[in-house]
């Protein structure tokens, strides 16, 4: 089955983009009621990705808004990172009260996902990590994260819990930092409905080649979902896809097509200074151009080139096809 992509925009794209230098944000706050109108106005969009309870708390109301705008939901994530109370972790906090609260929110997000027709839970454990050497007990953290993900996934086996990995920020070190650790975590849970979310930008920061990691994840049937954005390989700036890494993006979509990825791609971008709707439209446009391009590649011809490990022939083939 060839690549079948549905395009989503994360609602948080329309939150005021702040950083530690300008915590009030570089743009004015968009009226919350208008966010979904803005999402719908993005060229080529099919759906929206949401965080519970940051984007919504009332499921019925949310469903009504989505129906009115004609938007599907790609995934729902538990909001267990954007508050000082999570500063020492969420589902791996050593404080039992905090951990329970994180698990409860995650289970509520599972329910919300199912009610809104989403099949994926976006579990990003951004505060679960450490900043200094000698600060945390790595063994205990790992046991807790496996146990927590099992507990969340057991709530509804019809929803896939996607573990979104990222090496750093807001912690200097996050425990689920790369594709292999996320894959190990999903296997350690021994649950079929646990998978990995590859955020292509996070993969660059982890110094991975996203195509290679996507192949391993798909071989294990654990690639649950995709987030797309770009950066310079050193920080998660959430830039417009393929604005920095060109060939890496071509290669990952080649393999997604070859192995038949059938699912969502969510644009998790952060246009600090740019017009958000234009930035999202450009993100989808770039991606569609890449998809159109890789579909022109003759897979059997390209397989023969790769069997020979012939990097020069591969380059020649691609350049001739791209810049003819």
């Amino acid at each position: 089955m060839p690549l079948n992509l549905k395009y989503a925009i994360e609602a948080s794209v329309f939150w005021p983009p702040a950083d530690r230098v300008v915590p009030e944000g570089y743009k004015n706050q968009v009226n919350e009621a208008d966010i979904y109108k803005f999402v719908k106005s993005v060229d080529g969009v099919d759906g929206v990705e949401l965080y519970y309870p940051y984007d919504f708390t009332d499921i019925k109301e949310m469903r009504k808004i989505l129906t009115n705008e004609g938007l599907q939901v790609s995934a729902v994530g538990p909001g267990i990172w954007s508050d000082a109370k999570w500063k020492n972790g969420s589902v791996t906090s050593f404080d039992e009260t905090i951990r329970k609260e994180a698990l409860d929110i995650s289970k509520q997000a599972m329910y919300a996902a199912s009610e809104l027709g989403a099949e994926i839970l976006t579990l990003w454990l951004g505060q679960d990590g450490y900043d200094y050497y000698f600060q945390t007990d790595y063994q205990r953290k790992w046991d807790m994260v496996v146990e927590s993900v099992r507990e969340i996934a057991s709530v509804n086996e019809g929803i896939t819990v996607g573990i979104e990995y990222k090496p750093k920020e807001p912690r200097t070190h996050q425990i689920i930092s790369n594709a292999s650790k996320a894959l190990k975590l999903s296997i350690d849970t021994a649950m079929e409905n646990v998978g990995v979310i590859m955020d292509i930008g996070h993969s660059f920061i982890a110094e991975e080649n996203p195509a290679e990691e996507a192949v391993y994840l798909m071989n294990h049937k654990r690639l649950a979902h995709l987030h797309s954005n770009d950066n310079y390989g050193d920080w998660d700036y959430d830039m417009i896809p393929a604005s920095v890494h060109f060939w890496e993006n071509i290669e990952i979509f080649y393999w997604l097509n070859k192995l038949g990825y059938n699912g969502w791609i969510n644009f998790d971008i952060c246009p600090f200074r740019e017009d958000s709707v234009k930035a999202c439209s450009l993100s989808i446009k770039h991606t569609k151009k890449i998809v159109d391009f890789i579909k022109k590649i003759d897979i059997s011809a390209f397989d023969s080139i790769m069997k020979e490990n012939d990097a020069l022939a591969a380059q020649e083939y691609l350049w001739n096809l791209l810049f003819k």
């Binding site: 950083d19 530690r20 230098v21 009030e24």
Partner: protein, 328 residues
């Protein structure tokens, strides 16, 4: 020869709420200025407090500010100009293509110089953190550099008796900041050509630019362009402003050895971000760490003649044997 005492200060940043993009409102509540100063006055080894101009909690009258700090036995440290922390600077401040924005920034820094002129020995800090770009094909490098140079010339000419310091940093908040490393900063000094323009070495920024701190000190000292050192630490990839000395040992130690070697007499800022830790405990730890490293550097400095001889002969192993025996 006894080594010099470090002139340590900290700024309002130590008491910040540490908001970031995932927790924009931060991890802490604000602490009133009097409480901040009371805490600082009780930390042995800290001499000064650096205000932020004009958004910080300094008083409008510099003489009153001196009096306020005197009450806590503190001196006025470098005055940091906030020309980065508002969305109006989002496309740059001193290098902005928008002349109105550029003029507003130049005026702001001149106002800070007027304030500093009333405080003996004071110095103005600038950090052109928003002056840069994020994407290829986003900016005109030629005109941006020209504006940056012209802006600093005008600022420095405003009062040649007041020193204006520049802080380099590779990235954040822009993905690419123009004044990104020590070499580019020295190029700026040469293009501007004013004696009162000087440099800041932020140790964390230098690590992010994959530089060696001691080498930076040696270079800046050759041009007589080092007036302030900011002390923090990181994993060489980003700028979390971790407590000095908690990540990288050798380069931090070598830096303190070189500061002594070049007879540095300027301010050392204790700069750290403590979103997850108690801020006051972090500050105390930072002072302790710096003083402990300084003690080690002083031990090494007593053997500087032998160390210099080993350097001349490229006898690295001999130096490391000597140094590790001295400190462990």
């Amino acid at each position: 020869m006894a080594s010099k005492k470090l002139k340590l200060y900290t700024g309002e940043w130590s008491f910040y709420h540490f908001g970031e993009r995932f927790v924009p409102h931060g991890y802490f509540n604000n602490i009133p200025i009097d409480e901040q100063l009371a805490v600082l006055s009780k930390i042995e080894g800290l001499e000064g407090f650096g205000p932020i101009f004009p958004t910080g909690t300094h008083t409008n009258d510099p003489h009153n500010f001196i009096k306020l700090l005197n009450n806590y036995n503190l001196k006025v440290g470098p005055i940091l100009v906030d020309h980065y922390g508002d969305k109006k600077w989002r496309n740059g401040s001193l290098s902005s293509c928008d002349e109105k924005v550029r003029r507003e920034c130049i005026k702001l820094i001149k106002d800070a110089m007027d304030y500093a002129a009333e405080i003996p020995g004071s110095i103005v800090e600038t950090w052109p953190g928003q002056d840069g770009y994020d994407y290829a094909f986003q900016t005109d490098y030629i005109s941006s550099w020209k504006y940056l140079v012209e802006s600093y010339q005008e600022i420095c000419e405003h009062n040649p008796k007041v020193k204006v310091a520049v802080e380099f940093k590779r990235k954040e908040p822009r993905q690419k900041i123009f004044i990104c490393d020590v070499g580019t900063m020295i190029m700026l000094f040469q293009d501007v050509g004013m004696d009162n323009l000087t440099g800041i070495l932020d140790t964390g920024h230098a690590f992010m630019s994959h530089e060696s701190l001691a080498e930076d000190i040696a270079l800046l000292d050759q041009y007589n362009k080092l007036d302030i050192v900011h002390l923090n630490d990181n994993y060489r990839d980003a700028d979390p402003d971790l407590i000095f000395g908690t990540c990288i040992l050798w380069e931090n130690l070598e830096m303190l050895y070189y500061l002594d070697k070049v007879n540095f007499e300027g301010w050392h800022e204790i700069e750290f971000g403590a979103p997850k830790e108690d801020r006051i405990k972090s500050l105390r730890l930072a002072v302790n760490m710096i003083l402990k490293y300084k003690e080690l550097a002083d031990r090494i400095a007593e053997h500087s003649h032998e160390i210099d001889n080993n350097l001349k002969r490229y006898h690295y192993a001999d130096n490391m044997n000597l140094i590790s025996d001295l400190i462990f």
